[in-house]
Each structure stands twice: as structure tokens, then as C-alpha cells.
């Protein structure tokens, strides 16, 4: 009977344990934690879409990281960035404009020191002379993506229709306008910043001096700005270019504009449709006077740069994202040469393999590299200065002020800044 009792006892105990013991034990299931970082950029539709796609790929490669994106078109973005930077709410990884490195440098407290991210960010694909664009006081704060310059894009198909010469000089533009005016077509067009830089090129050639002195301060005075305003008024009056306030890019696709001043990086977004439609788009020489050297008064700069927030709580993850953006095959393939020819060697190698180093944008890059262009100071990209300049222009064009008054007014505002 001993075994009988023991067996019964064991079975009863097992049943009791199964019925009560197991059910009451507490269980802890660890949830997957995700590090959240943020990433901001500006750009057009195409850039937004491929960047979102790239972020999606990055998140798939690193499921432990979630990237919150913040993006917009350029219009108003500078203000958005200023709000972020001044309220310490900037994104962990940022696409920044070349000028912002100076604007928000804040004695080295503006951005993260990128060389401290060497465990996640590989800088070996960059030449040191390229990295100097993102360096302040010997410390690397930003990575340039590509070089950029204002470029003269010409729809040669339209020019040929009007038997107009692809412009190389300012006079060529007026000749073309003369021929196209009856058809309501502008030989050239530009948004406000491009127009501003275009007028600077004219004025520097005309005045034979640079707009900024060697100390970085404005070297131009009211009389120099008067030259710019007057020339702008002539361009408008002779229908060479539309008023910047009336500029609409869609009219480029509608072929109401036969050309555009735009960045190297804008080639595809501005003329992609025209190229698809079989139009011959060419890169004209940098516009100069007959006797000027090629590229005089024209500037180049890093297209855009990437920086990391000085306040980031996740520097390693931010470094990983930054490395992905500049060095990865995925991003290189998606981005192509949308921002210009990448300065990162791994990205260039991918584009070379893929045969993407061709086309209008590549031609524009080659044109830029073929001329000794001056380095664009960030000061010249200040949107408030540009807005004030065109307000002064409008005052003159709409006869609200005399030329010298308008120029003085702008010079005074500039001095206040």
C-alpha cells in the first residue's frame, strides 16, 4: 500500500501545483525599446520623397532606432530653423545651409563636434580640404554634401525657335528678350535669391569690386546697390526676366520662361520635365561682360551640409544616421546627384557604378568645377537682406522712390543689420 499512497500523493501535489502555483506567478515581458531621434531637411517634392524612403530604409536596417522627420520646402524654412536653434528644439540631425554654420556657431556651442562621433561616423571618405567648409576654429561641425553654384540653364529648343543665341553676356540676354518678347516668353527667370546673386555678379563685374570685403563686411555702398537695382529694373522692363514676386516655377515647365538661374542641385527639379519632353537644355557660360574673365562675380558653396544638434541625447544614433546619409549605398542610389556630385567618395563610387554621373546636373557640376568661382559667404544668403533688397527694387520699379533713395534705403537697412 506504500507505493499506492505515494503515487496518489505525488499526483495530488502535481495537480495542486498545476492548478494554483503556476497561474499566480508574475511574468515580465521586456518590450523592445526604440531610440527616437529627429531629422530635419528642406527640399522639393522629389527630395522629400527620396529622403523619406531613405529614412525608412535606415529604420529597417536599424529597427532599434526610430527617426522622426521634419521637412518643408525652402520657403520659410530658415525661420523654422531659427526657431528651433534659438529654442533648443532643433532636430538631432539637420540639413543646414552653408551660412547657418556661421550664424549659429555661437563660439563652438552651435553644433556637435563631429569628430567625436568617430565610432559611428566614418569620415575617411572625405578629403580634408572639403571638410574645411564645415570647420570652424579647427573643429568640424558640419559635413558638406556637394558643391553648389548658381548656374544659367537655357532651354535651347526655345532659343533656337527664336533664333536667339545661348547667352554668354548680359547683352545676349537683352537680344534674346527682344526676339522672345512678342511671344510673351522671358529668356531667363529666377527666384529671389538666385536673382540677388545674379545681380551681384553683374554689379561686381560692372563696379569691378567684390560685394564683400576681405573682412567679410559689405564692401558695396548705396551707389553699388543702385547699379544692381537699376539693372534689375532694366531686366524687368525689357522682359528679360520676370519680377521675382511674379516668378512661378511652373511657368518654366509651361515654357513661358526659356531659361533659369538656379543652383546646380536644382537641375533635375527645374528641368527634369523639359528633358523628359525632349527639350534640349544646356548649361550656358556664367554671364559676364564681353571682356570679363569667365565666372567673375559668381560664387560657389557647399550645396547643403549635415550637422548634429549640440543638444542631442543620442549622439551615436545621430552619428549612425549621418553616416548612412553621406556614405551608404542606399542613400547614394536614392539621392543620385539631386544635391550635386557628392563629396563623399563612397557615394561617388556608387553613382559611378550605377552610371548616374551623367546628365544635366552633372554637366552643371562640371561647369562649376571648370571655373574658379569665389567662395560664397553665408552673409549673402541671408533671406532678410534679400527681402529688403527686392522691397527696395519694387519701390523703384513702381516709382515709389527714386533709384538713389531706394538704394540708400536698402543700404541703411543693411547697415542696421
Amino acid at each position: 500500500m506504500g507505493i499506492f499512497r505515494k503515487t496518489a500523493a505525488v499526483l495530488c501535489c502535481t495537480a495542486l501545483i498545476a492548478a494554483t502555483g503556476c497561474g499566480n506567478s508574475s511574468k515580465v515581458k521586456e518590450q523592445k525599446g526604440q531610440v527616437e531621434i529627429s531629422f530635419s531637411w528642406w527640399g522639393n517634392d522629389a527630395r522629400n520623397k527620396y529622403t523619406l524612403e531613405a529614412v525608412d530604409k535606415f529604420e529597417r536596417l536599424h529597427p532599434e532606432i526610430k527617426v522622426n522627420c521634419s521637412y518643408s520646402e525652402w520657403s520659410g524654412y530658415e525661420k523654422r530653423n531659427r526657431v528651433w536653434m534659438t529654442s533648443d528644439t532643433e532636430c538631432d540631425v539637420m540639413q543646414i545651409n552653408y551660412g547657418w554654420l556661421t550664424d549659429y556657431y555661437n563660439e563652438g556651442k552651435g553644433y556637435y563636434k563631429l569628430r567625436e562621433l568617430s565610432s559611428t561616423l566614418d569620415l575617411s571618405g572625405y578629403d580634408e580640404d572639403v571638410l574645411r567648409y564645415g570647420t570652424k576654429d579647427g573643429i568640424l561641425y558640419a559635413l558638406p554634401i556637394a558643391m553648389n553654384a548658381e548656374t544659367v540653364y537655357i532651354n535651347k529648343t526655345i532659343y533656337d525657335q527664336f533664333d536667339a543665341k545661348v547667352p554668354g553676356t548680359w547683352d545676349d540676354l537683352f537680344d534674346a528678350a527682344e526676339k522672345m518678347r512678342p511671344a510673351g516668353i522671358y529668356p531667363l527667370s529666377a527666384s529671389s535669391k538666385s536673382m540677388w546673386l545674379y545681380l551681384i555678379a553683374y554689379a561686381e563685374q560692372k563696379q569691378d569690386k567684390q560685394i564683400l570685403g576681405e573682412d567679410g563686411n559689405f564692401n558695396f555702398g548705396a551707389e553699388d546697390f543702385a547699379v544692381m537695382i537699376d539693372f534689375y529694373a532694366q531686366l524687368i522692363d525689357k522682359k528679360v526676366m520676370p519680377l521675382v514676386d511674379h516668378y512661378e516655377r511652373i511657368r518654366l515647365e509651361n515654357e513661358e520662361y526659356a531659361g533659369a538661374i538656379a543652383w546646380v542641385s536644382d537641375a533635375k527639379s527645374y528641368f527634369g520635365t523639359a528633358v523628359e519632353n525632349g527639350r534640349e537644355i544646356v548649361i550656358a557660360d556664367y554671364t559676364v561682360n564681353v571682356n570679363d574673365r569667365p565666372g567673375e562675380g559668381w560664387y560657389a558653396k557647399p550645396a547643403t551640409m549635415y550637422a548634429v544638434s549640440r543638444n542631442t541625447e543620442h549622439p551615436n544614433e545621430a552619428g549612425m544616421l549621418l553616416d548612412f546619409l553621406v556614405n551608404s549605398r542606399e542613400m547614394a542610389e536614392l539621392q543620385g546627384i539631386e544635391k550635386g556630385i557628392p563629396l563623399s567618395r563612397p557615394a561617388v563610387e556608387v553613382l559611378g557604378e550605377k552610371g548616374q554621373l551623367t546628365g544635366l546636373q552633372y554637366d552643371a557640376s562640371q561647369k562649376m568645377e571648370g571655373c574658379a568661382l569665389s567662395e560664397l559667404s553665408p552673409v549673402l544668403e541671408n533671406e532678410r537682406i534679400i527681402d529688403d533688397f527686392f522691397s527696395a527694387c519694387n519701390d523703384y520699379i513702381y516709382e515709389k522712390a527714386e533709384l538713389d533713395e531706394a538704394a540708400e534705403s536698402f543700404a541703411d537697412k543693411l547697415a542696421e543689420k
Binding site: F4, N44, D45, K49, S75, L243, R249
Partner: protein, 490 residues
């Protein structure tokens, strides 16, 4: 049928019953466990489905609320445009506008609008006038998409009469953007648009429900947003989900392939959550395996335990019965049957093989009564034991030995293949030998001398035990009448 046959049959029946009880018990246990297990598994499947359906339903409602909240916030952002000076009163189509003033007014409106949407990922946030002129942030993508119908088609999207606004997507199959349009005045609409990818934050899936597909569709069930990597916006949702949710506004559907929930939002859009049934029941299947394994183990344990219990219960009966049988069959001496059992066994053997010769040898202790009176039971028993011992030695190959009375023993011997004469000679030889060997002193004054003696008689025959026994008994009696310690064969 003899008694021991009845008893033997009884024992066999007990064993058989015991075996049947074990088998029956095992079958009952297995069937019961299987039945309960199947019931439990079915219930578990149902409960799992119910649980997942209530979870997806709750999540669907939450996602719908998230979307409503997101859209409501967007609508408020559009309403904020009314706070901008001239935004709703300025008419860019008015030909009497002064161009210079118009430029400055539009510039100011654009700047103010830009401040309002400063932190938003809006693609568009601006005003479109009846002449397709735009102020504020109206992207080239939108201008290009709508072309010459920019104002006309955007106006048509403001189809809610109460608030003069409306939501739309899928314009010219462009499902990558969602538009919200609000009419500002007779010649202007305010437009906001954002990428559908922005809805990723609205439809964020909890980790626990990562297998669930979340989709936002238009009224035609074309995908506006999907959490499924392979889905393409603008295409119709998969047929298996579509067949479940088509025609339903707010429902939980346990379909053949999916468990789906649908909630309508924004009038004619749908938030659809679906989980493949396979995935829902994946855990249930694993659990089912475990339940079946546990049930099989429990059945095995129960059967083994039951077998042990039954055997432990059956054994005492068998033991008691067997003990009783032994006690009945053996008559005080080891392997010496009682009178009745000897008779039954001998009769059984002779009946079974009726042509074979059998010999019954009877031997009896002489002067038994006198010895008992004179020397007592102990001495007599010693003599009987000696007799049994000598019988066993003399007849090692006999069929059985029995005690037919207090002082009489019987031996059944089979002719194993000898001729009748040889067999008879063997029986005589052994009969004489047993009488001679038993004659020895007992160490007492036995009546008639110092020797304890025995007489013996035997008979040989076939087919009828009783007849052979009777003849042997007569022969014994003859031996006794002829003097003690003699042997006679019939």
C-alpha cells in the same frame, strides 16, 4: 465440472475482469481527456479570436480617433489662416488691385501664413485664387498636378456645406498626398496638403500588434496609407480583406482568412485593421500542441495509476482466493492434495486420457488408532510425514499424491509408455518397496512390536478413476486382512 475447475475459472475471470477494467479505464480516461482537451482547445481558439478581435477593435477605434484628432488639428491650422490680415478679404483676381500694393499685400500674407505653419510638415499651406494665382506655400508639385484646373478642382474638394471645407486624396491617382481645402471667399480657397507618409505617426502600431495590417482607404477601398511594406498606395486593398469589409462601416469581421475591423471616418474613408487568422491562431496552435501533450501525459499517468490501483485492488482478491485454494488443495503436507482435490485431479487426468493406463496405489499406516492413543498425535504425525516422504521418494514421477483419510495416502501413477506388464511390474515393485521401507522402529513400544508398518494396495486401469480407486481400496483391504505391512495389487 469439479470445484477446483470452477475455482480456477473464477480466478481466470478475476484476472480477465481486472484486465478489462484496466483497458476500460484507460479508454474512458483517454476519451474523457481527449474530449475535454478538444473542448478546451476549441474554446481557447474562440477565446483567442474574441480577445484579438476586441483588441483590434479597440485599436481600430483608437487609430480612428488619432486620425480624427490629426485631421481636426489640420482643420484648425486652416482656420488659423483667418487670423491673418487680408487672408480672406484680399482678392487677387480683382483687376483694380494696384500691382505694387498687391505685391506687398501678398508678401505679407505669405509671411504671416508661413509663421502659422512654421513647424508643420505641410507640403502646401496657402491660398489659391480663382485665376490660379497662389499666395503662401503652394508647392510646384500641387501646381503641376492640378495644372489649369488648380482652383476649379480644389474648390470642388470643399464639399461640406456647413463648414465650406473638405478632404480629398487620389486626385489624378495621386494618393501620396492628402488635401484639405477650405473656401475663404467666392474667389479663393485655402489649401493644406501633406504626404500620406505623415500618417505613420497616426497609425503607429503597438509592438504587441505588430502583425496587424493597418490601412486607411478611400470610399473605393483604395489605399491611402498602409502599414504593410508591400502595399502600394492608390491600389485596392487585398481581395481577402476587401471581401470581409466591403459594404460595412463599423464592424468586426471574423473572416475565413482574416480577422478585420473597419471604422468609417471623415465621411467616406475607412480605417481597416486586419490580422491573418493563421497569425492569431499561431499561439493557439502552439498552445494546442502543449495542451495535447499535457493531456497525453495526463492520460498516460492516469492509465498507469489506474492500472496500478486496479492491480493492487485485484491482487488481494487473487491472493486470498489462491491462498484459500492452496489451503483447500493441500492437506497439511507439501504437495500432497486433500482427498477431494486428489480425486478431482486424478479423475480429470484419467478422463482426459481415457486409453492410458493409470495406477492408483493406496497405503495406510497400520494400527493408526492404537498408535494415536498410545503415543499421541505428535508421534503419529511424524510417522505420517515419514510416509509422505517415502512416497515422494518412491514415486518421483507420479502424477499426484493425495491424502484420502487420516492415515491413508493415495498415489496416481501414469504409464508413460511401458507395456502393461512392465507397468504392472513397476507398480508392484514400488508397492512392495514402500511397505518394506516404511517398516522400521519408531523408538516406542508399538502395539504388535517395535515396528510401525503400513499396508498397501494398488490397481491399474483406464478411463474410470472411481473404478480403479475402488479396486485399489479392495486390494488395500486385502493386504490388511492378510497381515500388516503387506502389498496387494488387484
Amino acid at each position: 465440472m469439479t470445484r477446483d475447475q470452477v475455482q480456477a475459472q473464477g480466478l481466470v475471470r478475476i484476472k480477465r475482469m481486472s484486465f478489462l477494467m484496466i483497458i476500460g479505464y484507460a479508454i474512458i480516461v483517454i476519451v474523457a481527456v481527449l474530449g475535454i482537451t478538444a473542448f478546451a482547445v476549441t474554446k481557447y481558439d474562440e477565446l483567442t479570436k474574441d480577445k484579438v478581435s476586441s483588441m483590434t477593435s479597440a485599436l481600430n477605434v483608437q487609430l480612428k480617433l488619432n486620425l480624427d484628432s490629426y485631421m481636426s488639428r489640420t482643420e484648425k491650422m486652416a482656420t488659423l489662416a483667418y487670423s491673418v490680415d487680408n487672408a480672406y478679404s484680399y482678392d487677387a483676381t480683382d483687376s483694380s488691385n494696384d500691382e505694387y500694393d498687391a505685391i506687398n499685400t501678398e508678401k505679407q500674407i505669405a509671411a504671416d501664413l508661413s509663421s502659422l505653419c512654421l513647424m508643420e510638415n505641410f507640403v502646401d499651406y496657402g491660398i489659391v485664387y480663382a485665376n490660379d494665382h497662389t499666395v503662401g506655400k503652394v508647392s510646384n508639385g500641387t501646381i503641376k498636378l492640378f495644372g489649369e484646373d488648380l482652383y476649379k478642382d480644389l474648390s470642388a474638394m470643399a464639399d461640406r456645406t456647413r463648414t465650406h471645407d473638405g478632404w480629398s486624396t487620389g486626385y489624378k491617382q495621386g494618393y501620396d498626398r492628402i488635401y484639405y481645402v477650405k473656401r475663404l471667399n467666392d474667389n479663393a480657397v485655402f489649401v493644406i496638403s501633406f504626404y500620406t507618409a505623415e500618417l505613420g505617426s497616426v497609425f503607429e502600431n503597438p509592438e504587441a500588434m505588430s502583425d496587424m495590417a493597418v490601412r486607411l482607404t478611400d470610399k473605393d477601398h483604395k489605399i491611402i496609407y498602409s502599414s504593410v511594406e508591400d502595399d502600394i498606395v492608390g491600389t485596392t486593398i487585398p481581395a481577402d480583406v476587401l471581401s470581409d469589409v466591403e459594404g460595412k462601416d463599423m464592424a468586426v469581421i471574423t473572416g475565413k482568412d482574416n480577422l478585420s475591423t473597419v471604422n468609417s471616418t471623415n465621411g467616406d474613408w475607412y480605417v481597416i485593421c486586419s490580422v491573418p487568422t493563421d497569425i492569431i491562431l499561431k499561439e493557439a496552435k502552439d498552445m494546442r500542441k502543449l495542451i495535447y501533450i499535457a493531456a497525453a501525459a495526463a492520460s498516460l499517468i492516469a492509465v498507469i495509476a489506474g492500472t496500478v490501483f486496479i492491480r493492487r485492488m485485484a491482487d488481494p482478491i487473487g491472493t486470498v482466493t489462491a491462498g484459500l485454494s492452496d489451503e483447500i488443495s493441500e492437506d497439511g503436507f507439501e504437495k500432497v492434495l486433500g482427498s477431494r482435490f486428489f480425486r478431482d485431479k486424478a479423475d480429470s487426468l484419467i478422463t482426459k486420457d481415457p486409453k492410458r493406463e493409470y495406477a492408483v496405489i493406496l497405503t495406510r499406516l497400520d494400527d493408526f488408532g492404537d498408535m494415536l492413543t498410545e503415543f499421541g498425535r505428535e508421534t503419529v504425525d511424524a510417522q505420517l510425514l515419514r510416509m509422505v516422504k517415502q512416497l515422494k521418494e518412491a514415486f518421483p514421477d507420479c502424477e499426484c499424491i493425495g491424502r484420502t483419510s487420516d492415515n491413508t495416502f493415495a498415489v496416481l501413477m501414469k504409464n508413460g509408455g511401458m507395456t502393461s506388464e512392465e507397468f504392472r511390474s513397476l507398480v508392484i515393485s514400488r508397492g512392495v518397496n514402500i511397505c518394506d521401507s516404511f517398516r522400521n522402529p519408531v523408538g516406542m513400544n508399538a502395539p504388535g512390536g517395535d515396528d510401525a508398518t503400513s499396508s498397501a494396495g494398488a490397481a491399474i486401469g483406464t478411463g474410470d478413476y472411481q473404478n480403479i480407486y475402488d479396486l485399489a481400496y479392495k486390494a488395500l483391504r486385502t493386504s490388511e486382512r492378510n497381515g500388516k505391512s503387506g502389498f496387494t495389487i488387484a
